[in-house]
């Protein structure tokens, strides 16, 4: 097949599949939350309530798209696009299967970290431009959260990099043929999962949003599809982090051969998306000083120790 055509199809496919997954996650999260709260959740529209996604989308497109008169208009308008663009760019380096990767960069992991950090800008800009005290507090908390988790998020992955000798995600997956990195890199895995919760601003670490105290925080003033973009961005973020957990620690597309590799990849991703929802259903939100203390005093030293230990063992046994 023509290579350009293949990549075009792949890009369109990845965009389409990811946006569909993000939309379906709205339904999935509501159903799973309901299951764990002994309810049914949306089950009226279509089979199992699946058409709820469509109904929600139609509804949100027809909502009034209101821009607060006191807001910084242009920043206010472009803020929600940041999270969507950044997270969708992040999917460019995710290997969905052997050969099924939009761009197998040799710095793929760094690219992912950079893109997922850029997503935080939509929180700062959205919160600041809203000109609203709750949004401002939300944005401030977002900033506090970013500086406390970004550091150890990157460091927690360095163990994986040391073990696989590469920043390329395809090589990282191929290095897990014998044993998944979750076993030798268990500390790194736990730290990355915690950082992932903070990164995608999900409960219990949804401090910038905090419905109960900040009235939706940084997106209080958003309505219509601009709010919808924050929402879709959040679900895309969950999907990206889950895909990265599956790729980095659970062998990506690798798996017994009775299922195609892509199916294995999506199954693993779904498991971690479910974990995200489960944790949201189970845990309360910490104060942000607690989150920062946890980040700086516990997780950062732990991840440094992890890098140190992995590096020492690699030097002693490896090559």
């Amino acid at each position: 097949m023509n290579e350009t055509l293949f990549y075009l199809l792949l890009i369109v496919g990845v965009l389409g599949v990811m946006l569909t997954i993000a939309a379906l996650l709205i339904w999935y999260e509501r159903r799973m939350l309901a299951l764990w709260q002994d309810r049914y959740g949306p089950n009226r529209v279509g089979p199992f309530g699946l058409m709820q996604v469509l109904a929600d989308m139609v509804k949100i497109f027809f909502k009034e798209d209101w821009i607060a008169p006191f807001a910084d208009k242009w920043v206010f308008i472009i803020a929600p696009t940041f999270v969507m663009i950044a997270v969708l760019l992040g999917f460019a380096v995710v290997p969905f299967g052997p050969g099924l990767v939009v761009s197998d960069m040799n710095i793929g992991l760094l690219f992912f970290l950079a893109m997922s950090s850029l997503g935080a800008y939509s929180i700062f800009l959205g919160g600041l431009s809203s000109n609203n005290k709750y949004s401002l507090i939300g944005a401030l908390r977002g900033a506090a959260q970013v500086i406390s988790y970004e550091v150890f998020m990157g460091l927690s992955l360095m163990g994986v990099v040391i073990m696989s000798d590469s920043f390329s995600l395809v090589k990282i997956v191929e290095a897990q043929k014998t044993v998944w990195f979750v076993i030798p890199q268990f500390i790194g895995f736990v730290i990355f999962v915690i950082a992932g919760f903070a990164e995608s601003h999900r409960a219990p670490l949804d401090l910038p949003e905090a419905e109960s105290e900040l009235v939706a925080g940084f997106h209080s003033e958003y309505s219509g599809m601009k709010f919808g973009m924050f929402f879709v961005g959040e679900y895309l973020g969950i999907t990206l982090i889950s895909a990265m957990i599956a790729t980095l620690f659970f062998g990506g597309w690798l798996g017994p051969s009775f299922l195609p590799p892509v199916v294995w990849f999506f199954l693993k991703t779904m498991v971690f998306i479910t974990l995200f929802v489960l944790v949201r259903a189970a845990l309360p939100r910490p104060r942000y000083d607690q989150l920062m203390a946890l980040g700086w005093k516990v997780l950062l030293p732990l991840s440094l120790l992890n890098v140190l230990a992995t590096g020492a063992l690699k030097l002693y046994f490896g090559s």
Partner: protein
């Protein structure tokens, strides 16, 4: 740390719990025997209206949703000329049933009162009157009350002694 993992695990166990939701239109909720819903006006065992238009229910109603006007028929029996309950105001407190001296007004377990037009929630007497006796069987006010009504004089009611001549000294 342990408590966090434990609460996640306990939440996961809820996957296997029974769901509390009653899927209403298909599955009817189980109502208590004394559930207070739609108000009805009942008839006595002879098929006559029990209501004597005493206005006690309207007086007892805390939201003033009952309106009625008394009138009499040719044999001297009191009945409401119109009887109107505005169910958009009714709070189903049951005070009217409590106040009613003749068991005429009663609350039933029917709660499905939704209407598309608000005006349709105003029930007139023909909507409220039912053919049966409701919760209290065999009670007929005019048969037990010492009230003169066509065909029944003083002292002819059930459990009633004939009237005493108060100017007579004999026992």
């Amino acid at each position: 740390m342990f408590s966090i993992l434990r609460s996640i695990w306990l939440t996961l166990l809820h996957t296997f719990y029974r769901r509390f939701t009653v899927q209403y239109p298909e599955e009817k909720p189980k109502l208590p025997a004394r559930y207070r819903g739609r108000i009805v006006l009942t008839r006595d065992p002879d098929g006559q209206e029990r209501c004597v238009a005493c206005n006690l229910c309207a007086a007892a109603c805390p939201v003033d949703c009952i309106a009625l006007e008394a009138t009499e028929d040719e044999i001297g029996r009191r009945y409401p000329k119109f009887f109107r309950i505005n169910f958009s105001r009714c709070i189903f407190c049951g005070y009217c049933e409590d106040a009613c001296p003749t068991y005429a007004i009663q609350l039933t377990p029917d709660f499905e009162l939704a209407e598309y037009e608000r005006q349709n929630l105003v029930y007139e007497k023909e909507h409220l009157l039912i053919d049966g006796q409701g919760k209290y069987h065999g009670y007929n006010f005019y048969r037990v009350a010492g009230y003169t009504v066509g065909g029944k004089g003083k002292g002819e009611a059930q459990h009633e002694d004939p009237p005493i001549d108060i100017r007579d000294l004999n026992p």
